[in-house]
Amino acid sequence: MKPRVILSIAVVGLGLIIAAVPKNTTQPYKLTANQLLDEANSSYQFFSPDELADLLIKKDPSILLIDVRDPEEFATYNLPGSINIPFSDLLNSEWTGTLNQDVRINIFYSNGTLLANQAWMITRQLGYLNNYVLEGGLNYWVETIMNPDKPQSTSPNEELARYDFRKAAGAALGGGAAIAPVVEESSTPRPVIIRKPAKKKVSGGC
C-alpha cells in the first residue's frame, strides 16, 4: 500500500513541474561556445572562388548558392543559380528546411566575407550542417574570376594555368568576352575542404 502512495505523490509532483516549465528552455543550443570557436578558427567553412567556379562549371547539382544580402542588392547582381535569403530574415522558419538539411552544400555569399560568415555562424550554432561561405565574397569573386589579372609572362606556370582557368570560368559564367577552352584541371593544388561528417545515426528497434 505505502510504496504506491509514495510513488504516486512523487511522479505527480514531478509531472506538475515538468508540465509547468516553459518548453523552450528544454532546447539548448547544439554547439558550445568552445566548439564553435574551434570550428571558426579552423576556417573549414570557406570555399575559395576557384573551387566554386569549378563546381559551377561542372553544374554540380549538390550546391546551392545563397545570397544573404538585401533583396535590392540581390536584384542588382547575383551569381547564377543563387537564391536570396536576406540576413535579417535568416531565422524565419520558412528557410529552416533549406538551411538545415543533409543533401546539398549551401554556400553563403555577400559583398565581402563578413555577412555570409555571420550567417554561417548562426546556422552552425543551431547545429545545422552543410553550410559554407564563399571566401572573400562577391568582391573577391569579381576580382579573381570575372576580371582576373593577367600574370606577367615570366610568372611560374601554375600561375598562368590559374589565370587561364579563371578567364575561361569567367567567360563560361557570364563574365568577360574571351572564349577559351575550359580548363578541367588547373594545376594549382586546390585547398582540401574538410567536411564535417554528419552525426552518427543511432539505429534502434527491438
Partner: protein, 196 residues
C-alpha cells in the same frame, strides 16, 4: 553532453561493453520483479496479479520524467535520442499478433530470455518459438511487405501529434498511470491469487 555515444564521448566498443552492463541491470530487474514467471505475467489479464502493469508503467514514467528533466538541465539532447518510427498499420497489426502471442505464450521476448536464464523450460521453448516466428516472417516477407510499409508517419512524438508540450503530455500519462495503479490494486483484492 548526452547521449554519450552519439556525441562521440565514448567509443563504439565502450558502448557495446556498457550495453552488456545495461543488459545485466535489465535482466536482474526483470527477474527480481517476477517477470521470469509466465503465470505472474499472465495475471495482469485476469486481474489476479498486476505486477506487469505496475512495473511497466512505473518504468515508463521514470524514464520519461528522467529524460525530460535531463533535457531541462541540458544534460541530454533529446533530438539525438532514437524515436521509433511510426508505421500505423503494422504497429496495430503487429501489436495485435504480439498480444495474442502474449496471452497464449505467457511471455514477451525480454521476459522469456529472463525465464530461460533461470531454467524455466517453457521460457526456453518460447525463445525457440521466437526464432521460428522471426524466420517465418523473414522468409514470407514479400507477402507482408505492403502492410509492413503502410501508414508511415515519420517519427513523431505523441505530444507533437496532439499539439501538446512534452511536459503536459507527460503529466497526462502520469495521471493515467496512477489511476491504473489504483484500479490494479483494487483488482488484485477482488480476484483471488492462487499459489504458484
Amino acid at each position: 553532453m548526452g547521449p554519450l555515444f552519439v556525441n562521440n564521448i565514448i567509443s563504439e566498443n565502450t558502448n557495446f561493453l556498457l550495453a552488456f552492463f545495461i543488459g545485466i541491470g535489465f535482466g536482474m530487474v526483470l527477474e527480481s520483479s517476477g517477470f521470469s514467471s509466465s503465470r505472474k505475467l499472465a495475471g495482469i489479464f485476469y486481474g489476479y496479479d498486476t505486477v506487469v502493469l505496475k512495473v511497466f508503467f512505473t518504468a515508463a514514467l521514470t524514464a520519461m520524467l528522467g529524460l525530460l528533466f535531463m533535457s531541462l538541465f541540458g544534460w541530454i539532447d533529446l533530438s539525438l535520442v532514437y524515436v521509433n518510427p511510426t508505421y500505423l498499420t503494422s504497429a496495430i497489426i503487429g501489436g495485435a499478433v504480439m498480444g495474442v502471442g502474449f496471452i497464449i505464450g505467457g511471455f514477451c521476448p525480454g521476459t522469456s530470455f529472463c525465464g530461460a536464464a533461470i531454467g524455466k523450460i517453457d521460457a526456453m521453448v518460447f525463445v525457440g518459438g521466437l526464432f521460428l516466428g522471426i524466420i517465418l516472417f523473414s522468409e514470407t516477407y514479400p507477402l507482408w511487405e505492403k502492410i509492413y510499409l503502410a501508414g508511415f508517419k515519420g517519427s513523431p512524438k505523441l505530444s507533437e501529434s496532439l499539439g501538446l508540450s512534452d511536459g503536459l503530455l507527460a503529466l497526462g500519462v502520469i495521471l493515467m498511470a496512477v489511476a491504473m495503479f489504483y484500479v490494479a490494486e483494487w483488482a488484485e483484492r477482488k480476484f483471488p491469487r492462487e499459489e504458484y
